[in-house]
Symmetry: C2
Subunit: 225 residues, 2 copies
């Protein structure tokens, strides 16, 4: 099976590297990291990763995957990328994302009519695209499988692996990765966090989130036509 994972400038690297760890440890999966060129791609915080194939070189994806991050805004208006995703999605067994990667899939028209999730700060923006936002860590709707914010990528990938290769193989990967998480603090989601901290994050990200919303609204008008 070919796993085609999109890389792009200013992505959030853990959205991708979490699922990469799961998928790349499966013998039957060939993982490809795809971008426009083979030049190094820098994430939003300075981790630079090399693509393994260009858009043109990419094999047909069995699993198509898009991570999130601030760079997602540019992708939502990038016709070359949106066309690539649409073409790949036609032949893919699963069309998937983590974090705000779901907004890119939505911008390509690939989530219309589906239920999906995203990072909690951006979840509601899915509704612009005729997508039902679901406040859940991993959402499976037909062959669309989406994960919530950043770290949910590990839960997402193990869930998908369990569907494809069966629970036993997914459990083996989970055990090899020693995935027995023990967050040192309570409050990893808005539901469990102190309301003051949720508010502070909303305030400090407000300007960027308004930009993101403006792009979503603008692009959604074209998608819904």
């Amino acid at each position: 099976m070919n796993v085609v994972m999109l890389l792009y400038p200013n992505m959030t690297q853990l959205d991708l590297t979490g699922p990469f760890e799961v998928f790349s440890s499966v013998k039957q999966f060939n993982v490809h990291l795809v971008w426009k060129t083979l030049e190094p791609v820098r994430d939003t915080h300075g981790l630079t990763i090399l693509p393994t194939v260009t858009l043109q070189q990419s094999p047909q994806a069995d699993i198509l995957f898009v991570p999130g991050g601030p760079g997602q805004l540019a992708l939502m208006e990038d016709q070359q990328i949106l066309t690539f995703l649409r073409q790949q999605a036609e032949g893919a067994q699963y069309v998937t994302s983590v974090c705000t990667g779901s907004l890119v899939l939505a911008a390509a028209g690939l989530l219309s009519g589906y239920r999906a999730t995203s990072h909690w700060l951006s979840l509601e923006q899915l509704a612009y695209f005729d997508v039902e936002p679901v406040n859940q860590r991993v959402v499976v709707d037909g062959n669309r499988v989406t994960g919530a914010g950043v770290t949910s990528g590990i839960d997402f990938a193990l869930t998908l692996l369990g569907k494809i290769r069966g629970p036993e193989e997914a459990k083996m990967v989970q055990l090899r990765m020693e995935y027995d998480p023990a967050p040192p603090f309570v409050g990893g989601s808005p539901a469990s966090a102190e309301i003051e901290l949720v508010d502070r994050i909303r305030t400090t990200t407000q300007v960027f989130q308004q930009q993101r919303q403006a792009v979503s609204e603008k692009v959604a008008k074209k998608v819904r036509k």
Copy 2:
């Protein structure tokens, strides 16, 4: 604060990319990815990352960090790397690792007399180096902070961040990363996993684990002299 994270061929990338996501999101932290050259470094499963500094260019670490992975065996006998780690550790506030990175620190003599952890398959090998193996996800002993296998890197980094910048800042990072894990299966540690799956992993990794043990025994003799 300078966070100096060692990259090396055949590391396990998530050991590093989990903590990178935490540390790189903190304004007061400058994260450096260090290796012998600036050439791309390929992890054990095909993710290729660019170093940001060479050993010679590296600033003095405030946090010194070593990830694990199969490539750790070669590092344990690499005098250039062991010397670098010893020199850096002298001026560092924290000397840290995830997974079998602790065996590299031990090989450099940096964990002698301390309590520490490692991946569950390799935990007992720490004892060769006069280190007390602790079966715990994150172990803090003085300024030595070690994490268990692979995914524990996220718990490790949030714990360390909480110590350095206070729990509130660590909680903010946790919430932004939506770290509210929900493993899809029970059994992410040998204590909770089906015994048959634990045995199967022990069997399939036996040859490599014997190599790892032989290197640990050999290197430990020199360290204990």
